[in-house]
């Protein structure tokens, strides 16, 4: 398989990618985030592959199985897009050509098989991928460099679907009254996704318009964006589908109002 076959369906003009507008320090900061994102995208390949197995075993609507199966492949392509962004900013020698590894997926040992797949889909799609969709949308709204914008668009068009499939699946579980175990597990799921994202954002450099133009969010905007995703997308999503947030409310309030 050639590198070209991993390219986005949206063309990305790598040849014209000019990073000269950034200082050396700024290139290092922005490049580090793309290199880290490369790792996260690679780990998502394994996470979605696991979801495919669990959903196929437990059963789900065909559209859900189709989208989750496609998502594993999307993440392979995303890894390559992020790698090329990191290489452009940091240099070939600073970025691994390929990665190996599998995410540490919570096993939920006290849960049944059907509960476990629900918790995995909610954590991966309704929480993590939904945050990513909102985060990338904010990032794209601030990016001006054409190649960086094209790279972000190629990721975002898939991330939106990766979030959607979680809500699609959750809607079928709500329809079938099969939400057992979710409400009690939500505090841990939210802390592990939203809490971790907030802590990571809190370690970022402060906002910088030049760096934002290359696909990057600074600390203040990143924290606000993650909290907005929780408050105005995720929480209303659970409420719309009748998922009780009574147990998770204090966790949500702490993440929205408190320190990361």
């Amino acid at each position: 398989m050639t590198a070209g076959s991993l390219e986005s369906r949206r063309p990305i003009l790598w040849e014209s990618f000019d990073v000269g507008a950034l200082s050396s320090d700024a290139r290092s900061v922005v490049g580090d985030t793309w290199r880290e994102r490369m790792k996260q995208e690679h780990l998502a390949v394994g996470a979605f592959a696991l979801l495919v197995q669990e959903l196929a075993e437990d059963g789900c609507d065909p559209i859900v199985l189709s989208l989750v199966t496609r998502a594993a492949n999307d993440e392979v392509r995303h890894t390559e897009v992020c790698r090329r962004m990191a290489v452009a900013l940091l240099g070939e020698a600073e970025v691994p050509a390929r990665l190996h590894g599998f995410p540490k997926v919570p096993q939920h040992p006290q849960s049944s098989r059907e509960e476990r797949v629900l918790l995995h889909v909610v954590e991966m799609c309704c929480l993590s991928e939904t945050i990513t969709g909102v985060y990338f949308t904010e990032m794209l709204g601030r990016a001006t460099q054409p190649t960086a914008r094209a790279a972000l668009e190629s990721l975002l068009q898939d991330e939106i679907d990766h979030g959607r499939v979680g809500w699609a699946y959750l809607s079928t579980r709500a329809r079938d009254s099969r939400l057992d175990g979710l409400s009690a597990a939500l505090p841990a799921l939210i802390e592990r996704t939203v809490g971790r994202a907030l802590r990571q954002a809190d370690r970022s450099h402060e906002d910088d318009a030049a760096m934002e133009s290359y696909g990057w969010l600074g600390r203040t905007t990143a924290l606000a964006t993650i909290r907005r995703a929780l408050r105005e997308v995720i929480v209303p999503g659970f409420e719309t589908l009748g998922v009780s947030l009574s147990v998770a409310r204090s966790t949500i309030d702490k993440l929205l109002d408190g320190a990361p």
Binding site: V64, S66, V134, T137, R164, V165, W167, A229, T240
Partner: protein, 69 residues
């Protein structure tokens, strides 16, 4: 960014996907700018060809990337 729009695009768009599939629609997904061209589509669920962009339109918000015309 309009967060209500993101709720409709991601959450309601996902829920609409299942509804479209259950109606026997042929479902494919795309969030290309083509969604905008369908902004004036009838506010009834399409039963023949439905994609994620249509689903977002059904939810009231066609998806369009920031800065995309």
């Amino acid at each position: 960014m309009n967060p209500n729009r993101m709720f409709r695009v991601i959450v309601m768009g996902g829920i609409a996907l299942v509804a479209a599939s259950a109606c026997g629609g042929s479902v494919s997904t795309s969030t290309d700018a083509g969604a905008d061209a369908r902004a004036d589509a009838p506010a009834t669920l399409r039963l023949t060809v439905v994609d994620a962009s249509d689903a977002a339109t059904e939810a009231g918000v066609p998806y369009q990337f920031p800065g995309e015309t």
